[in-house]
Structures are given as C-alpha cells and as structure tokens.
C-alpha cells in the first residue's frame, strides 16, 4: 500500500530470542540452540518461543507477522515493548535501545510511542466506552476534561458516536474491538501493535474491521505491526509479511513474493490455496512484445494484478500492454495469464 515511502526504520530487531523455562538465558548461542522444539524441551525443559529473529519495521508500513498458533508471533510482538522480556538479542526503536531502557523510560515508550490492540480487547468492564478510550490518557496523567475531549474525538473516528456512555458488556464484539482500537489511537502512538485483533470476530465483522484498519492507515500513515494467523488477512493488510514457524521467521517479503516464490515446502503448503491471480502482478508475468503488440491492445500498469489483466484481456479479446509512464514494458496474453491461474508457470519474483 505504501511501499514507496522513505525507508526509515522504526523497530529494528536483531537475533532476538525468547526462551521459557529453567535457566532460559543459557539456551541462545549454546549447543542446544539449533534443536527442534520437542528435543529442546526434552533435553533442557525449555521452550523457545522466539528463535534468533531479525527484521526491521519501516516507518509508515504495515508489517504483518503471520503464523499458526504456537509459532511465537504473539510472544514476538510482546517483546517489542517488553511486555514479555526477551531472553537475548538486540531491539531498538528509532535507534534507541529498548532493552537498555529503565522502567520509567520503558513506561514512557508504552505511554507515547507504541500502543497495542489485543485479541480479547482487554477493556475495563466497569467503565464506559468513553472512559475506556481515555484510559491511556489517564495513565499519562491528563486531566479528566482534557482526556475526555480527546477520547470523544477518537470515538468518532472509529465510528462509535452515540455509544460513549455504554459499558463494554453492552457492545458487540466488533464494537468492543473498535473501543480497543480507539484506546490505542487516543494516545497518538508512533506505532500501533495489533495482536490478532480480529480473530475473535465473525467473518463479516472481521472484514469490516480490516477495511477500517486500511482506511486508518491510508488516512494517517501510521506504522503498524499486525499479528495474525489468517493468511488472507495478512495478504490484504500487509506491505510486508514475516511468516513464522516454531519461533523462527521462515520467509519475509511482500505478499507477492511469498505467494509467488515460497521459500520452502512449509510456506508452499501454506499459500497453496491462495488465489494467485489476485496477488501476483503482471510485472512478473509479462513477456517482451512481439510485432505490433507494443502498439495495440488495452493498457495496464505493472502493478496490476493478474485478475485485473484477465478482465482487460477478456474485454479486448487481445493481449494487454503493460505500460509505465507511456513506455511499453511488455505484454501479457491469455496463455500467460491462464498459466498463472493454473499454477503451471513459475514466476520470477525476487524475494
């Protein structure tokens, strides 16, 4: 969505480990570090939830961490603000070492720089919607009138106008999560962290909420780290996706890279059912123009998906030209496009 933004780094994570169990700090870098989960537990009694993970979150992007339950993704996102203390590794936000922060500094980070939205909402049942949204501001020490005014603005932004005085128990799941989202937005954080925020919601509501996040991101351009186990959600929201398995990142790339060139069989298995034509762009499918193909036929952009190209080709009855600033980069015809849909053709996508 905003891949062309300047490449400033917000979170920088290097060789991060989180090991649960006795003498957990001895595991990273030891002979046991490479063992599979089962053997590690048997030998040391420890579980490595996050293993030697490195990545950067760039300013303004939606960085999705995806994996099945137990893959360590929720632990990973909690390590970012040290809600769970990492065992070893390096972690910085805007160049500042997070692991070296003292408690006051860390609180400052949580209060102003990174706010989190939780799977089970974590709302205070005894407070109204407005006071729940204002909770983060209250913790910061803002006065009652001030924080309520601010909260009212955010309530409007997430579409909860008119429900300010209700209690969480009177809201539907989707509305509750809007409150959770509003609470995180109210503190105006630099980064929003989402921990499977929509997993507990109905599919239709989930879709609504995803649209909401996309809209918010488009309007504000805030950096987001989004945890999910739902591949279609990851593909829809993510600028880049880190796919985790057993605590390790097995592949990190754009949605297209992951779908088009899976790093291993595990990822391939994962993306098998993804409708490829909706993810893969014609940039990676086209061939050089032959004859007068560069002059005729419908024009599409290199970023258009295969599905869009199919529509253009079907309408025109001829191959489509991939045009970039008036220059023809190549063409796609029905054979090429069908090949993508059928999965018989391997695209060249640089991972």
């Amino acid at each position: 969505m905003s891949a062309e933004k300047p490449q400033e780094t917000v979170f920088s994570v290097r060789n991060l480990w989180k090991v649960f169990g006795p003498k957990a700090d001895r595991i990273p870098g030891s002979a046991h570090a490479g063992l599979p989960a089962g053997e590690l537990r048997e030998k040391t009694g420890c579980t490595a939830a996050v293993r030697d993970v490195s990545f950067d979150v760039r300013k303004g992007e939606v960085f999705v961490v995806m994996g099945l339950s137990g893959s360590g993704k929720s632990t990973l996102v909690r390590c970012l603000t040290r809600l769970i203390e990492p065992t070893s590794g390096k972690l910085s936000i805007d160049g500042e070492d997070v692991l070296a922060m003292d408690r006051a500094r860390l609180r400052e980070l949580r209060r102003h720089r990174a706010a989190m939205v939780f799977q089970h909402f974590g709302l205070l049942p005894h407070r109204t919607v407005l006071d729940n949204v204002a909770y983060g501001l209250e913790i910061q020490g803002l006065g009652k009138a001030q924080r309520r005014a601010k909260a009212a603005e955010v309530v409007e932004k997430v579409g909860l106008t008119g429900m300010e005085n209700r209690r969480p128990s009177q809201l539907s799941g989707g509305q509750q999560q809007r409150v959770g989202l509003a609470r995180a937005l109210a503190v105006d954080p630099e980064v929003l962290l989402f921990d499977e925020p929509f997993s507990a919601l109905d599919p239709l509501i989930r879709r609504d909420m995803q649209e909401e996040v996309i809209r918010l991101h488009r309007e504000e351009g805030r950096t987001m780290v989004f945890i999910t186990h739902d591949l279609s959600e990851a593909l829809r929201l993510g600028d880049r996706i880190a796919l985790m398995r057993d605590g390790e990142i097995v592949q990190l790339g754009t949605p297209e890279e992951i779908v088009a060139s899976p790093a291993d069989d595990y990822v391939r298995d994962f993306v098998r059912d993804v409708p490829r034509e909706q993810v893969i762009t014609v940039r990676h499918v086209m061939r050089a123009a032959e004859g007068d193909e560069a002059e005729t036929g419908p024009a599409i952009t290199p970023g258009a998906t295969v599905a869009e190209a199919i529509e253009a080709v079907a309408r025109a009855g001829s191959p489509a030209r991939v045009m970039d600033n008036g220059r023809c980069l190549g063409v796609v015809d029905s054979d090429l496009l069908l090949g993508v849909v059928a999965g018989t053709r391997q695209e060249e996508v640089a991972a």
Binding site: R110, F121, G122, L124
Partner: protein, 672 residues
C-alpha cells in the same frame, strides 16, 4: 506378596524373603501408589503399633501415663494476668490501649445511634438500603425490608438491645473488613504470602465460634473488648479470602492491556485490579457481616450485651417466649444486612442510566445525611427519640402460653406418631447412647488407628497424620471422655445430616420445582446466626443432647443440601445422555453415573457437614449438650478459665481432626 491377597489376611504372615529383591522393590513401589497398597502398609504399621500400645499402656480409656493436666498451669496464667493487668508494661502500653480503644469506639457508635433516636436510625437505615439497592424498585424493596426489620425490633421491646448489637457490629465489621482487605491484598499480590496465609485461613474456618472466645477473655477479661476482638478475628477470614480470590482472578487480558499503555504497578492496582475484584470483595464484605453478626450474638457469653445476652439469659432459664422475642430481631437484622449488602453487590453490575444530578455520586450521600439529620430533629421534637414504651408488645407471655399448650402437645401428645420429644428420646436411646457407649468402650489406640485409616482412605498421609496428632492431643490434655461425648454427638448429628441432606439434595437435583421451592428457604437458613437455631429446638425437644444435635443438623443441612444438589447438577450432561441412551433407568443413572461423578462434591458436603455440626454441637453446651461445650460455658460463667481453655483447645483439636479426616484432596476442596 501378591496384590490379590486381602490386606487383613496378609498382615499376619508376611514373608519379605519370599520374593527376590528387585521384584519386591518394583511391586512395593506400585503398592504404595494405589489405595490398596496404602492401606496394606498402614495395616501392618497399625497392627504393630496397636499391639505395642495395648501391651505397654493398656486398653480402654486414654492412659493416665500419657496425660498432662493443663488446667492448673492455665489457671495460674489466668491468675497472673488478673493480678498484673493494671501494672505490667505489656498491658499498660499495648493491650490496655487496645481494649480502651475498643470500648471507646463501641461506646461512641452506640452513643451516636442512641442520640439519633429510633426515627433517625430507621430513616438512615432505610435510605442507605435504598441507595445500596440502586434507588430503583430493588432499592425500595430493600429499604422497606430494613425499615420493617427495625420496626419489629422496636415493637418487640428490643430497641435498646438491637442498637447495642448494631454498634458492636459496626465497629467489628469495619475493623474486620479493613484487616481482611489488607491481608487479602497481600495474599492477592504475593504468592508467598498467599501460601503462608492459606492454611491459617483454612484452619480458622474449621474452628467453632466458641473456641475463639476464651483466649480473648483470658487476656482482656469479660466485656466489650474481648467480644469485639473475637468477632473481628472470626469475621475477617472471608474478606481476606475473597479479596485475594478477586485480585487473583482479575482477567489477565485487562491487566496486560493496562500494562501495554504504560501503567505503573500502583496505577494498575488502582484502575484495573481492584475494580475488577469489586464483586468478590463485596461478597466478602457480605460474608464478613453475617459472620460478625453470628459471633456478636454468641459473644454475649463474654459480656458483649445486646440481643445475644437476651437470648442467653432466656435460654438459661428455658424461657422460650423471651428467647424468641430476642431471637426474632437477630433474624431480622441478619435479613436486613444480607439484603442490603447483597443488593449493593448486584448493583455493581447494573448499568447507570442517566439520573438527575441530585441522585448521583456524593450528592446522594449528602442528601441521605440531610434527611437523616431532619429525621433526628423531628424525632426529638415529637418525642420519638427513644422507642416509645407504649409501642412495644411483649410476645413472651403469649408465646409461653402457646408453648405450654400447643407445642407441649407437639412434644408428647401426638397420637400414634408420638411427638418431637418422644422422637428425641428414641434418637438418644437408639443412636446417641450406643454410639457414645461404643466410643467409650473402644480402646484408645484403636480409635486413633480408625481415624488414621479413615483419613488415609479419603485423603493423604499428611491429613491422616494431622488427624491422629490432633486426636492424641485431646487425650494428652486429659479430656478424653468428654471429647468422646462431644464426638458421639457430632457423629450422630452428622449421620442424620447426611441422610437427610443427601436425600433432599438428590431430590432437588432431580426435580426442578423442589429445588426452586427450597432455594429461598436455604438462602434464609444460611444467613441466620448459629445461636438462634437453639431457640426452636429447645421449645420442641426440651434441653438436652438431642436438642443441641438437632439444632446442629438443621444448621448444617442447607450447606449439605446445596453442595449435593450442585454436585449432581454439574455432572456432565453428555454422560447422563449416554447412560439414558443405553436404556438406564432413572435409578441406574443416579447410582451408576451421577453419584460416582459427583463424588468430590459429596465428599465436600461431608466435610462441610462435619464442620458445621461441630460448631453448633459445641454451642449446644448452652442448652444441655454437656461435654466440651458445657466446659467452655462453665469456665466462662464461673471464671474458671483453665477448665474452659482446656475444653477450648480440645474443641480446636477435635475440629482439626474431623476436618482433616474428611478432607477430600486439595483439588476438590478448592471450589468452596
């Protein structure tokens, strides 16, 4: 050495050499794991120990060689305290201040209530109840209950006693709630503190109310301070327990969300943890109030005064009418306090709709204060400050007339079926006396072994050991026969409680309308203090052991019925369905599915039943129950604290023994 041999046959001719060493070790380990193995090993040890004990110390009652007379030294301690109470620094600089503060606080509250007058107190109670009930329809109902309860107290001529009881209650509840909440806070936040506190609370819960009185009398003498402190100590545990439970149960997701926003631990406690625990804390407060009422009434024995004293005096002269006139206000106070705090607790969940400004927050309380002040002034003006003598009605005369005519008929004159007193005699002759005689005839070591064996069957080595040690302590203290007497009463009462309780519980679990009909009755019964149960049983069964036991049965029954019903109801419906799909009859379902699956609940019911029966059997010392309970009363009324304290300690030991012996494994106990 095979697993198939019965333990009894195996004990006599054990030949360890028969099996090879490694084989023996393997089977031995397996043995120790199963119940059968445990019992087998136990039987061997027990047989040896029993034989040795019988040979060296003789059978029959507890051997004199193993007894220590504690009465004398305790009397000496008591005398020393009485002699030094006014001079020793410990008293001068600490205990005296405590007792003076206690007296002053109770007097201050009492003085305030008296100067508010009947009208003022009534209006204040009604308004507070109305506010606690949410100022809606519930609020009105609760307020009417409070007003009605107080009015009846006045009508019965018990206004002054009621006010004194309320004053004692108020001070005791505030102190107990504060102490309880602070301890609960500690236990809720610190695992180590929780682990240390838990066994103490468990034990305190088991001890009969009577046992709390004597130590305080020893230190403070009879009077308000002893009564107050005993009440505080007795009433604080539920507050502690439920505060800790609430704090521990706070949803981790909410706490994490709070932390993620950068809250400090104190902010988290104040904005999330405590509010999330409000419901449990209110329940704790409710239970603390009910237990305080129960104790304040019993504390009449140590000079607390108030309603309890009226009942106590009436019972000691077997004046049923007078006892009832004081007993009814106690019941009404219990209902008033329970309804008010219960409604306040429910109010926590209610959603506040927009109310006029005057009905919000502090404005309401200010309004209540103003209205109360107005009522006080109005009361002064119209001469309603004290409850007017003309407005009282002495029910003791008519009740006693009724008692002598109708109840007497019920007692003895019913054709064919006899009458309550006749039944009580049968109960004494056919169950209680044989049980008592049996216990006395049993060699002391055999009883110890029986206790150990039984505890092993239900619990663990540790509970068995505690049980045996507690019972042995009773013997060492030299009150073996009296304790056996009490024990026989408890066992007889328990038997009756369980038969009735299980029967009613099973019925209620299977027939919906029975349960619905029983629920309000059980609710009402569970709020009433132990003391008031003695009044009707004295009327129906005359004084004696059987009256005490029947009061105990009635007191313990609601809990047993409730736990049984719940246990049966919670049996997995899928298992029930599977049974009925295979054509099991209702009885088969009950016997083969429900009862086995509800075993933990049934064991818990037995445990609770024992504890509750013991509590009232001891209090029954007041109505001719004799044994240990009487020793306590005797010690208190004659000032022979040594005798009373020894009996008190024996009660504690007996309580511990009975609890541990019937204590199901820790997992099953947690859901109390």
């Amino acid at each position: 050495m095979t697993t198939t041999t019965s333990p009894g046959a195996d004990t006599g001719n054990r030949k360890p050499g028969a099996a090879s060493a490694p084989e023996r070790r393997a089977t031995g380990a397996n043995f120790l794991r199963g119940t059968g193995g445990k019992l087998l090993l136990f039987a061997v040890v027990a047989g040896t120990l029993g034989a040795v004990a019988a040979a060296t110390l003789g059978s029959g009652s507890w051997p004199a060689a193993l007894s220590v007379d504690l009465t004398k030294p305790l009397d000496d301690v008591s005398d020393w305290i009485i002699d030094n109470r006014d001079t020793h620094p410990l008293f001068l600089y600490f205990l005296l201040h405590l007792s003076n503060t206690a007296t002053a606080a109770v007097n201050a509250v009492y003085g305030t209530l008296v100067s508010m007058g009947a009208l003022g107190v009534g209006v204040a109670a009604a308004l507070v109840a109305w506010r606690a009930g949410g100022m809606g329809r519930t609020g009105l109902r609760v307020a009417a209950t409070a007003l009605g309860a107080l009015a009846v107290c006045g009508l019965l001529g018990m206004w002054d006693a009621t006010v004194l009881t309320l004053a004692l209650m108020a001070v005791a509840v505030v102190v107990a709630a504060v102490i309880g909440a602070l301890l609960g806070l500690g236990a809720g936040l610190s695992d180590r503190f929780d682990r240390a506190l838990r066994p103490v609370l468990d034990t305190m819960q088991v001890l009969p109310a009577f046992a709390y009185l004597l130590p305080f009398v020893l230190i403070f003498g009879t009077g308000t301070p002893a009564a107050l402190f005993a009440t505080v100590i007795y009433a604080a545990p539920p507050m502690t327990r439920l505060t800790a439970l609430g704090l521990r149960g706070a949803a981790p997701t909410v706490l994490e969300a709070s932390a993620s926003l950068g809250s400090s631990p104190l902010q988290r406690l104040w904005t999330a943890r405590l509010p999330l625990a409000r419901k449990e804390m209110f329940l704790g407060l409710n239970q603390t109030i009910m237990m305080a009422l129960s104790m304040v009434v019993i504390a009449a024995l140590v000079g607390a005064g108030g309603l309890g004293e009226e009942v106590y005096e009436a019972l000691s002269t077997v004046d049923v009418g007078k006892a009832l006139a004081a007993g009814i206000p106690i019941v009404l106070l219990a209902i008033m306090l329970d309804r008010t705090t219960g409604a306040a607790g429910e109010q926590l969940d209610a959603v506040v709709t927009d109310r006029p400004r005057l009905l919000r927050g502090w404005w309401t309380w200010a309004g209540i204060a103003v209205a109360t002040a107005a009522a006080v002034l109005a009361g002064r003006g119209t001469g309603l400050a004290d409850w007017p003598k003309a407005w009282t009605y002495d029910i003791s005369q008519p009740v006693n007339v009724f008692n002598d005519s109708v109840i007497a008929q019920l007692r003895e004159g019913l054709p064919v079926i006899g009458g309550t007193q006749v039944w009580a005699e049968h109960f004494t002759n056919w169950l209680l006396n044989p049980l008592n005689a049996g216990l006395h005839a049993m060699p002391w070591w055999l009883l110890l072994l029986l206790v150990a064996g039984f505890a092993l069957l239900v619990g663990t080595w540790r509970t068995a050991l505690t049980g045996v040690l507690a019972l042995a302590a009773v013997g060492v203290m030299g009150v073996w026969p009296k304790s056996l007497n009490t024990l026989s009463q408890v066992l007889a009462g328990l038997l009756l409680t369980l038969v009735l309780g299980f029967a009613i519980g099973i019925l209620a679990a299977r027939v919906g309308w029975v349960e619905r009909a029983l629920r309000p009755l059980l609710d009402a019964m569970q709020t009433m203090p132990q003391f008031v149960y003695l009044i009707p049983v004295v009327a129906l069964f005359a004084v004696g052991r059987s009256a005490a036991i029947i009061a105990a049965v009635v007191y313990a029954l609601p809990a047993v019925v409730r736990i049984t019903t719940q246990g049966l109801r919670q049996v997995d419906p899928a298992a029930m369905e599977a049974a009925s799909s295979m054509g099991a009859s209702g009885f088969q379902q009950l016997r083969q599915v429900q009862l086995p699956l509800a075993r933990p609940a049934l064991l818990l019911a037995v445990n609770q039943g024992v504890v509750l029966v013991l509590a009232v059997v001891i209090v029954g010392g007041l109505v001719g129950g004799g044994a240990l309970g009487y020793d306590v009363v005797f010690g208190l009324s004659r000032g022979e604290l040594g005798t009373g304290l020894v009996a008190g300690m024996a009660i504690v030991c007996l309580g511990l023994m009975l609890d541990r012996v019937t204590q199901p494994t820790a997992a099953a106990r947690k859901d109390t």
